[in-house]
């Protein structure tokens, strides 16, 4: 019998203060359906991420709405920078 519950892996790339709070700039998560679910998963794993705003990109395109995530997708966490 073929295994019907394929594992879906999403890689997360974090920038700026998001990477700082996560203490890493890349993590992988498994079996996350969509961006909203990912946000909740991340905010549980790294509660400090709730302290600021983060824009999201999927496969190097910034997205403003919830969308389904597929195996192999790369999600970037993009906090704003202001320094100069």
């Amino acid at each position: 019998m073929e295994n019907t519950t394929a594992i879906k892996t999403i890689s997360i790339v974090a920038f700026g203060v998001a990477a700082e709070k996560m203490k890493t700039n890349s993590v992988r998560v498994e079996n996350i359906d969509d961006i909203d679910a990912l946000k909740i998963c991340l905010s549980n794993a790294y509660p400090e991420l709730n302290e600021f705003k983060i824009s999201i990109a999927v496969n190097k395109k910034i997205v403003h709405e919830n969308m389904l995530l597929n195996d192999g997708d790369e999600v970037a966490l993009l906090p704003p920078f202001s320094g100069g």
Binding site: G16, P47, K60, A76, G84
Partner: protein, 372 residues
């Protein structure tokens, strides 16, 4: 022989591109970590006119990265020293000194005199203000910013290959709380980082003016100094961007650009009912009281999301776009909205004033009214 022989000789550049630089003007806002390298390279490239805006003084702690200044400049006005230095090096450039901070009373007048704007400032208030002014004036804006060992660069208000323009509010529609992201004066910065990013900003300005190569319009480029790596992202239009920005020059002048905490929108039950009836598929009431608090709601559509379990159960609001949040008296719902706005910045949250107590008294009044 001229100063520009080596770039005029460059294939794809030539006298034509050099003439374009000579006929063009660039405004550099902020003569700090990003502004110093940008100004030095723009000056060297042979711009016709350069404007320098800064209201700050040189401090000794600036000197690791603000390479237009030396020890003897501590305490002097940055815009004045920068103007003198560039003018002394290159007598043929018209250098204009704005010894002031830009604000929404002077920004439109100053920016409108220039062909390209380079944002080298160091705080969110100025960044949003410069962005909005450039959007209103349809002025090409070269954006650059840094955080610790990372930087980002983009070009706003220039049509991309598909004919769309983007701006900073497409990335982040509203400013964050200033306390959330401290600037580099507080967090520390290695001097070469703004050197790299400021030089990239000068590069983009030169490309915009001369038409060589491809600019970063429609894209944002991230740079990581520690990894020596780049990450380029495509920017998408954000529907919230135009709502958050001032619609015209009059609104711009009265817009409050001081960075404040994200505000919670509060509404009363009448307004909440009206919002629900306008779009019942994508709108819901959210009860953030604990599960044992009475009375429970059974007369209207409502999602239970106790404040104590908010982060764990917040996924239950995923299907909705507009969320009308209430608690017992209106205090916890505000707190919940603050947290939810951070989790779901693209959704619209409203805290209902007076909470369920207010709803009950309203219902009682209605009953009373029908009886009479």
């Amino acid at each position: 022989m001229t100063r520009f022989d080596r770039q005029i000789n460059l294939r794809g550049f030539g006298q034509e591109a050099q003439n374009k630089l000579k006929q063009s003007s660039v405004l550099v806002i902020g003569a700090g970590g990003l502004g110093c390298p940008a100004l030095l390279y723009l000056g060297a490239a042979g711009l016709g006119k350069i404007g320098i805006v800064d209201g700050d003084n040189v401090s000794v702690s600036n000197l690791n990265r603000q390479i237009l200044y030396g020890e003897n400049d501590a305490g002097k006005r940055k815009a004045v020293v920068a103007t003198e230095t560039i003018q002394q090096k290159y007598s043929d450039i018209d250098v204009e000194c704005f010894n002031t901070f830009l604000d929404n009373s002077n920004a439109l007048e100053i920016i409108s005199q220039y062909d390209v704007v380079v944002d080298c400032c160091d705080n969110f208030s100025a960044r949003y203000m410069i962005n909005d002014a450039c959007v209103l004036l349809n002025k090409p804006l070269v954006y650059g910013a840094i955080y610790q060992y990372e930087g980002q660069v983009s070009v706003f208000n220039v049509k991309d290959e598909k004919g769309f323009t983007h701006n900073y509010r497409d990335l982040f529609p509203v400013p964050p709380n200033a306390k959330q992201i401290p600037d580099c004066n507080e967090t520390g910065v290695l001097g070469v980082l703004p050197g790299v990013i400021g030089t990239m900003q000068a590069t983009e300005a030169i490309k915009l003016i001369t038409g060589i190569g491809k600019t970063l319009c429609g894209k944002i480029l991230y740079y990581n100094l520690l990894q020596q790596s780049f990450y380029e992202l495509a920017i998408a239009k954000n529907p919230e961007a135009s709502q958050a920005a001032p619609a015209n020059e009059k609104d711009f002048r009265s817009h409050n650009y001081s960075v404040t905490c994200a505000t919670v929108k509060t509404i009363d039950w009448n307004k909440a009912d009206e919002m629900y009836s306008l779009n019942p598929q994508q709108t819901t009431f959210v009860d953030v009281r604990e599960k044992d608090e009475l009375p429970r709601v059974d007369t209207f559509m409502c999602v239970d999301l106790p404040l104590s379990a908010l982060a764990h159960q917040a996924h239950c609001i995923s299907p909705f776009e507009k969320l009308l949040v209430f608690c017992k008296g209106g205090v916890r719902s505000e707190k919940a909205v603050r947290q939810l706005q951070i989790l779901f910045p693209e959704k619209q949250f409203y805290s209902i004033q007076g909470g369920i107590l207010d709803r009950l008294s309203q219902l009682n009044n209605k009953l009373y009214a029908t009886e009479v």
